[in-house]
Point group: C2
Chain length 192, copies 2
């Protein structure tokens, strides 16, 4: 492979996409696969990916404040954080920790997770973990010459309603994808 940093350099936040340039189903599948392979603490994968469908799109865009990245996007994927499922006594956690233990003992992992788990911060923690999956999707998009824009500035109640989320899940990020309408702007990173 060429240098990964060259790939990383390809990514930038695209605020406006070329309309009528659809993202293919294969592209969407590869974006989801990149997200699925993201790291997560305790192997909990505390996320769900929602490919926004036509019936949800208008309400999702509205929940994102009608920002151009959303309105002009060819595809929107919401990354949703699991919350209640992360209770140490849930079936979900039991299954994930068994997977994490592979053929070893699950008890030490379960004990470590129980000590780590704090219900007062678990929602924020799960949202943080969702950024691992988002970073993978953003790089995968750049690799496929697709533009992308992570959107964190949304109305969470409206977005949860638009996505018909159960009460035990919370939206973490929406990512807009498409053919970017402009080339990469110059980078202006801080120096220290």
């Amino acid at each position: 492979m060429a240098d990964l940093l060259d790939e990383i350099q390809l990514r930038y936040a695209c605020r406006a996409f070329v309309e009528d340039q659809p993202v293919t189903l294969v592209d969407v599948a590869l974006l989801l696969e990149a997200g699925r392979l993201a790291p997560s603490a305790f192997g909990l994968e505390p996320w769900r990916f929602v490919v926004v469908d036509d019936s949800q799109r208008a309400a999702v865009i509205r929940a994102c404040g009608d920002q151009p990245a959303a309105t002009t996007s060819a595809a929107l994927i919401a990354i949703v954080a699991l919350v209640d499922a992360l209770d140490p006594d849930s079936d979900y956690v039991r299954d994930r920790l068994l997977a994490e233990a592979r053929d070893g003992e699950v008890a030490p992992i379960a004990q470590a997770y129980r000590a780590f788990y704090d219900p007062t911060v678990i929602k924020a923690w799960a949202i943080g973990q969702c950024h691992f999956a988002a970073a993978h999707m953003l790089l995968q998009a750049a690799h496929m010459e697709l533009g992308s824009c992570p959107i964190g500035g949304f109305d969470p109640v409206a977005l949860a309603a638009a996505l018909d989320l159960p009460a035990d899940e919370t939206p973490a990020l929406v990512i807009a994808f498409g053919r970017c309408a402009y080339p990469a702007p110059p980078r202006r990173r801080k120096l220290d």
Copy 2:
């Protein structure tokens, strides 16, 4: 480049490294560069990367509960979230938003950020953003055939003391790097 998904597949959480296999200064520089190029909302880059030095290492490892990934690591990088700096009226935010605006108007971005900013959740938010930088470093490590392990289970007060952080910063993650002592275990991801 080969498929990015092949690169993504190379990454796994390594819990034990081969000792006496140092990570070179060039490797560390490339890890930091990958993190530096991570996305962040409003271009705020709300992070600082601390390469743990010999004088800090023992205390950092202790703050990480003496877990083997830390004790056997060849290098540790702490990703620290900026908190007070994110106040909309700070010099830091002014400089970053000017950079984000590039040669356009900064006022709409500043207004959007002021509407977005919530001091009660900004710390958790900044920690979440730090996961973007972490994901980049983890992939860069895999690309360089280095093992890595993100460590989120630490004592934040002890870690902040070990890193001599100012009161307006908070540790987000520690990442351990080195030559992994074992090959990639089988993946056991959830299916839905």
